[in-house]
């Protein structure tokens, strides 16, 4: 439901296609929520050749300039977790903007539905956050091994 809340907030449609947060669940029962972790060195911003991305000073979120972005996909390749998303026929990429710094919509709905799986966490100094920027299938492989004890 967080995907629906996100899509509603940003694009005004309840279609998870437009969500900035994505639940990866190749192995059922072991879902991996995937969204921008705001790496300290912002490789995606560096990779952009159209100057379409900048870092919000207040929140540290990556903001995409919808007019300049061409959805070329360079930032996706640059991201250590391939987290930005392209949508067919949409002229810009989707990256989490932390909903402007207040409580994000995905967190709100997760709390509202009583799952408490998502919370807004403080940012740690240093390179720590980058550890989370891993492709979702790799995270899932680790989780499956941990929970079920099998290699997938």
């Amino acid at each position: 439901m967080c995907e629906i809340a996100c899509a509603l907030k940003h694009e005004g449609v309840p279609d998870p296609l437009f969500s900035r947060i994505k639940i990866f669940e190749y192995i059922p029962g072991i879902p991996v929520p995937q969204l921008c972790v705001q790496c300290p060195d912002y490789p995606c911003v560096d990779a952009c050749v159209f100057n379409a991305m900048y870092v919000d000073e207040k929140t540290g979120a990556v903001i995409v300039d919808k007019d300049k972005c061409t959805a070329c996909g360079l930032c996706i390749k640059a991201c250590p977790g391939n987290i930005p998303r392209r949508v067919k026929d949409l002229k810009y990429v989707l990256i989490c903007d932390l909903c402007g710094g207040d409580e994000p919509e995905c967190v709100k709905i997760c709390q509202k539905l009583g799952h408490n799986a998502l919370i807004k966490a403080p940012k740690h100094p240093g390179q720590g956050a980058k550890l989370y920027a891993v492709a979702p299938d790799k995270i899932q492989t680790m989780l499956v091994k941990k929970i079920l004890g099998v290699e997938v």
């Binding site: 309840p14 279609d15 995937q34 930005p84 509202k112 929970i147 079920l148 997938v152």
Partner: protein, 623 residues
């Protein structure tokens, strides 16, 4: 009509031809989608030769359907249909899986599969790319092994589209490959579309899996603002509702105690009893002993009713999702098994082999009773088959899935197996056979009168399917019309559970499709139309078995025996009461007293074209 694409993907495996199958607006308005549309397509394509068509013949169609509400109403549901190898009619078998969203995202409302491939194949759809791929490497695999092999074969690439580039898929296990009539079409490791036996149909087409990833937006609803408003109001109500119901904490296993002990309507030892008081077969036992991870839901669902259970079986790790209420009953008390771990293991094994737990469990229970009564013995089966022997059940499940020895007979499902064994042993064993029109009923008995209505299964157009039961009054949520519309939208039955949901669903359908849609449309128009068409195809039947409403619109003989134990001891439904209720129900649907739709009803529902089929049925029944 809004909310749908107006076309289906048509795959002919005989010639490897892929085309589009267009459907007129008017047909959508008459049948909506999902179950209704599948029944219509089957009638249109196969109606003229229905009674000569073997369901496992390549000519049969496997129809995988979404509907107008897919993607809009919270919770996924995919409908699998075709001519059923169990009932020989049309069964709409529901399965909860994200595949339904991916089909809709690929620009189609469903997939029709015709013919049979010469060698094992799987269908791969990625956006506009549609391929029939070699599945030799996948053949024989089930469960997590298949997931692993498929992941290697499809090569997920995140660097192009970002972090959601992974397809969803439905597949069959070894049971489906061997055309076992109790095989399910599987998805997400633990979900199965079991009723109908479409795993066997998929196997008869040599189709191992359908792998699909779509990239389109959902078709625009008629009134987007209203859809968002309805969605938000559902989100607001969801948590208080779930928290109070306990459904979220325990899911369907909560019913184990409710139906097994309180209401006395759960099958015990092939329905000889319907009551037990064993604490080991309860949601509490599962919670304490089995669940690896509580709280798990289908994508975009507001109800959270599943769990993740990890089961070690020999050198394998198997997964099951609860097991849920039906699995626990049919692979537990109905086989005399009360060991919590054994039940979870058998359920995981059924998922792994791709067997429908309800049909397979019922068939094994039937065999166990025959063993108890001395009709069959160790020489027939190869080993002992006593109540409560989980290891023997395990062995028999493998024998059924691979059609070995006695398993080959049981793989035909409870009704056909009983015919074969009757012939083999020259004894009438119908009194031990619990089925309605070839389908073993779900774990909701009718004898205690605290669960489903007496006519629930007898009048159902899907036989023993507990997810599509009839009942009175015919314009309420007890009627099968409600089930037909739920399956045509399609929505999950747990996402529409509780009073007032028919009103909500009608409003929701109206907002998405732009049709005038009220409760009356459900109960007086679309519902009866779908049921009437399904009823006619069911009575056409064939080619080897035909149903006679005078004999087969009935409860299994066992249901006429008074309950031998529990708080409702002695309770049952007498035949004259059933007959009375049946007539009342048929009349409300505009059918005659044998449940054959009248000419006037056909005209009213705009089904004049099926009149020839009705005449054919009447001629066969000598009416």
């Amino acid at each position: 009509m809004h909310g749908v694409w107006g076309k289906l993907l048509y795959v002919d495996l005989d010639s490897d031809k892929i085309s589009e199958y267009k459907i007129d607006e008017e047909i959508y308005e008459k049948f909506l989608g999902g179950r209704g549309l599948a029944a219509y397509i089957l009638w249109k394509e196969l109606g003229h030769k229905w009674d000569q068509l073997d369901p496992l013949d390549p000519e049969n169609l496997l129809i995988i359907m979404t509907g107008p509400l897919t993607g809009y109403y919270p919770g996924p549901k995919l409908i699998i249909s075709g001519k059923s190898p169990q009932s020989l009619g049309v069964i709409a078998s529901g399965i909860s899986t994200g595949v339904t969203y991916e089909i809709k995202r690929s620009g189609y409302d469903g997939i029709i599969i015709k013919g049979a491939a010469k060698e094992p194949v799987y269908l791969y759809v990625n956006d506009r790319r549609i391929e029939i791929r070699d599945a030799k490497k996948l053949w024989g695999l089930g469960g997590i092994d298949l997931f692993k092999a498929l992941k290697e074969d499809i090569k997920i690439n995140f660097s192009l589209w970002g972090s959601d580039d992974y397809p969803k898929f439905i597949y069959i296990g070894p049971a489906g490959e061997n055309k076992v009539r109790t095989a399910a079409v599987m998805a997400d490791l633990t979900h199965g579309a079991g009723y109908g036996g479409y795993g066997a149909v998929m196997g008869s087409k040599n189709l191992k899996a359908v792998v699909i990833k779509g990239r389109e937006r959902y078709p625009r609803p008629a009134d987007p603002d209203k859809v968002v408003k309805l969605l938000n109001s559902m989100i607001d109500k969801a948590y208080p509702r779930m928290r109070l119901s306990g459904f979220r904490l325990w899911g369907t296993p909560e019913a184990l105690w409710d139906y097994g002990f309180v209401r006395s309507s759960a099958p015990v030892k092939n329905w000889q009893e319907e009551w037990h008081d064993r604490p080991t077969v309860t949601h509490m036992a599962f919670e304490l002993m089995i669940w690896t991870k509580p709280h798990r839901s289908c994508p975009y669902c507001l109800n959270v009713c599943m769990h993740l259970s990890k089961i070690s079986y020999k050198d394998k790790i198997l997964i099951t999702d609860g097991p849920d209420y039906e699995m626990s009953q049919f692979l537990g008390p109905n086989l005399g098994i009360y060991d919590t771990e054994a039940i979870a293991r058998l359920s995981a094994l059924a998922d792994y082999l791709g067997l429908c737990g309800i049909q397979t469990g019922s068939t094994i229970a039937f065999a166990m009773e025959l063993y108890e009564k001395g009709v069959i013995d160790k020489n027939d089966i190869g080993y002992d088959l006593r109540w409560g022997d989980a290891e023997a059940v395990e062995r028999l499940m493998f024998d059924i899935a691979y059609r070995k020895g006695f398993g080959n007979i049981l793989a035909e499902g409870v009704y056909r197996a009983s015919l074969q064994i009757s012939k083999l042993k020259n004894i009438d064993i119908t009194k031990y056979t619990v089925h309605v029109k070839g389908i073993a009923p779900g774990a909701h008995g009718i004898r205690s009168r605290r669960d489903y209505q007496p006519i629930a299964y007898a009048v159902s157009v899907q036989g023993g399917d507990h997810m599509s039961v009839g009942g009175l009054p015919a314009d309420s949520m007890s009627s099968e019309s409600w089930r037909a519309v739920q399956d045509s939208a399609p929505v999950c039955k747990f996402a529409t559970l509780g009073s007032g949901y028919d009103e909500l669903l009608a409003t929701f359908i109206g907002a998405v499709t732009g049709l005038e849609f009220t409760k009356d449309t459900i109960y007086k128009d679309i519902g009866p139309r779908i049921l009437t068409l399904q009823r006619i195809l069911l009575l056409l039947g064939g080619p080897d078995i035909y149903w006679d409403p005078r004999l087969h619109d009935d409860n299994p003989p066992r249901f006429y025996k008074p309950l031998p134990s529990g708080p409702y001891k002695g309770s049952f439904v007498p035949r004259d009461e059933l007959e009375k209720l049946k007539k009342e129900y048929y009349k409300a649907l505009g059918w005659n007293e044998l449940g054959i739709p009248t000419e006037e009803t056909l005209r009213k529902l705009g089904l004049e074209e099926v009149k020839t089929a009705v005449d054919k049925i009447k001629k066969r029944l000598k009416l």
